[in-house]
């Protein structure tokens, strides 16, 4: 298995009102072919900006990718022409969004919207493309697909719409599917159906997945590697088993401790004191240090690098660095 996507030191900044918001401040990670990679973190940590950067969909102005490299199948995405990029989006990398109602066009029939994507990327006639669309809808277990292609988005339930989105995005057999909070707008029983479907499709079509979510339970169920983001940086990266058993970064520990969960009872929930920093004026050094109860000497001076704590577990925290080991 090779590397499908590799991101190095990605920096995406937004410029507004004379301020520079460092939404991504040096993000590095890799997705294996056939892998399912989870990106977790709280609102504003840069998860979605990472996804939009990969597709080069950052609205500009105000945003801009200022530094870094995104290699997809060996090609540097940031150096592709706009034409090349357009044939990559939807065909090689596609994305499903959080709100299926706003990502489908309300004035077109389901079949026409789906056929458009297929016609564009596979150069098929409309009738063939519509047939493909029906087949794809059947594959995502939509009952009565020939009727659904003639319906409009508002006639479908939330779960059905998300199925349509998945069918549409997978109709060109992309190598990478980016799913940005794909089930946040759905009820848990419908969420379970959609997650099941994404897993099934991944297996059948050998699509790699970048899953963005704030729900750690979904990551545990779907992913094999996980990165935790905080204030525009990855603070910890590991295999899903390692990170769920031993979250190492103080922020990850806080996050895991804060979840009221169905499997176990906690008397009080762990609380991370303070608030997320303003990204136009982030704290020096480790961006988590003002809220960290373990902070010591080097934390407020230089941003910590990723330290390796086991063969597949990396933590960006001085607690795991040599500085600490020598004390």
């Amino acid at each position: 298995m090779g590397t499908l996507l590799s991101i190095k030191n990605l920096k995406t900044h937004f410029y507004s009102a004379g301020k520079t918001v460092r939404a991504l401040d040096g993000v590095t990670f890799e997705i294996e072919e056939g892998g399912a990679y989870g990106l977790v973190g709280e609102t504003g940590c840069g998860k979605s900006v990472t996804a939009l950067s990969i597709l080069r969909l950052i609205p500009s102005p105000p945003g801009r990718i200022v530094d870094g490299e995104i290699r997809f199948k060996g090609r540097d995405i940031l150096r592709l022409s706009e034409d090349e990029m357009r044939s990559t989006r939807g065909k090689e990398i596609s994305m499903i969004f959080q709100e299926p109602m706003t990502s489908l066009n309300p004035v077109f029939r389901i079949g026409d919207q789906m056929a458009e994507v297929i016609m564009l990327h596979q150069r098929l006639e409309r009738s063939r493309a519509t047939e493909n669309a029906v087949r794809m809808l059947e594959r995502v277990h939509i009952p009565d697909a020939t009727r659904v292609v003639r319906q409009f988005p508002h006639q479908l339930s939330g779960g059905m719409r998300q199925r349509v989105m998945i069918a549409m995005e997978l109709s060109c057999h992309p190598s990478l599917l980016i799913a940005d909070e794909p089930t946040t707008a759905l009820d848990v029983t419908i969420q379970a159906q959609i997650l099941q479907l994404i897993k099934e499709m991944k297996k059948e079509l050998h699509t790699s997945i970048l899953l963005i979510t704030h729900d750690l339970g979904i990551v545990a169920e779907m992913c094999d590697r996980v990165a935790v983001m905080y204030a525009g940086s990855i603070v910890e990266e590991a295999s899903v088993e390692e990170i769920f058993e031993h979250p190492q970064h103080p922020y990850s520990q806080g996050l895991w401790g804060a979840i009221p969960h169905i499997d176990e009872e906690k008397k009080t929930l762990a609380v991370i004191p303070g608030m997320v920093p303003d990204l136009s004026n982030p704290p020096a050094g480790c961006k988590f240090h003002p809220r960290c109860r373990f902070r010591f000497d080097p934390c407020d001076k230089l941003p910590p690098p990723l330290f390796q704590v086991s063969p597949s577990h990396f933590v960006s925290c001085y607690l795991y660095g040599e500085a600490r080991a020598h004390e």
């Binding site: 419908i190 159906q193 804060a258 009221p260 009080t268």
Partner: protein
């Protein structure tokens, strides 16, 4: 269980809707015969998926909307039969915390006006003590006196929710309906608010009706849990019973649908098929029979009673 503080019996709320070009009147049966009770000092968690009627139950309990039928007994008084004037003095005993901390605070009022308003309406404090009391309320929810003169937009989501809680506490209520108070918040902020609500309950002896779709949150905060589906309570039991041995097929499916935090644990294969039917035209018999894997012939036409099956557990199912 000691004397119930709140008891609702066969509560119903139908919303009229006009359909089609003939404008025929039909009804959305949002709440259709719900009975439950909450004891003094306990937290009843009301859980269910969107559209099941849990928010409508919360609003009915506070008489923010008029019930179509049934009784709401608050400390023995039937609120359903009282009119607006009669209910006004009782209102200080029950308050609400809303889901959206952005929409539920008036953007043109300062924090001190927002928090003091309920006390003015009920004539609870002299003008001179008002400021003191407001400051004490803010401190009890973890805000500081200098926040008094600020406006809601100056606060983060978690802080706004704290303002909402302070406002709810202003009349020294006995019962608080918390309608999804943390669903707009990030997990770390949610943890702060849940801890605060628990601590306030301990300190002030509050009773909560806690409405949420987040099953983890419900498990954390509740003493007893009621599960709703399509306008009805299908199961109500002690928390340990609900989570240890769920009994109704819907409860089982709902709990099984929540992703586990243990990556090694495989999901049991009880994924519910299909969507929730429309409350405008609910299925006959047991409303869950269209999605129930155990459905018996009689589930199709006979509606199951909500009855007690063992100490501490009520259920509506033919099984």
């Amino acid at each position: 269980m000691n004397e119930p503080m709140l008891e609702i019996k066969n509560l119903k709320k139908y919303f009229p809707v006009l359909r089609g070009w003939r404008q025929e009147k039909s009804f959305v049966r949002a709440v259709d015969g719900v009975s439950l009770s909450i004891a003094r000092g306990e937290t009843l968690g009301l859980v269910g998926e969107s559209g099941c009627g849990k928010t409508t139950v919360g609003r009915l309990v506070l008489k923010l909307i008029e019930p179509t039928g049934g009784e709401i007994l608050f400390e023995g008084k039937n609120l359903a039969s009282l009119d607006r004037k009669e209910i006004h003095p009782l209102r200080q005993a029950f308050q609400i915390i809303f889901q959206d901390p952005f929409a539920s605070l008036n953007p043109r009022m300062t924090v001190s006006e927002i928090v003091a308003r309920p006390m003015e309406i009920h004539g609870l404090v002299e003008h001179a003590q008002r400021n003191d009391r407001t400051i004490r309320l803010l401190e009890s929810v973890g805000l500081r006196p200098e926040h008094l003169t600020r406006y809601p937009h100056e606060f983060s989501g978690g802080q706004r929710q704290r303002i909402g809680i302070a406002r709810a506490l202003a009349t020294q209520p006995k019962l608080i309906v918390a309608d999804e108070p943390t669903s707009a918040l990030d997990v770390s902020v949610q943890a702060q608010i849940l801890n605060l609500l628990k601590q306030l309950q301990n300190d002030l002896g509050l009773t909560y009706l806690f409405i949420s779709h987040n099953i983890g949150v419900i498990r954390h905060i509740s003493d007893r849990v009621a599960v709703m589906y399509l306008g009805k309570v299908v199961e109500m039991a002690e928390k340990k019973m609900i989570f240890g041995s769920p009994s109704h097929p819907y409860t089982k499916a709902l709990l099984a649908a929540v992703p586990s935090l243990d990556p090694r644990k495989k999901r049991e294969d009880v994924i519910l098929e299909g969507d929730v039917p429309s409350p405008m035209n609910p299925p006959s018999g047991c409303r869950f029979h269209t999605r129930c894997r155990y459905a018996l012939p009689k589930c199709y036409d006979e509606e199951p009673f909500f009855h007690q099956v063992e100490e501490g557990r009520w259920i509506a199912c033919h099984l």
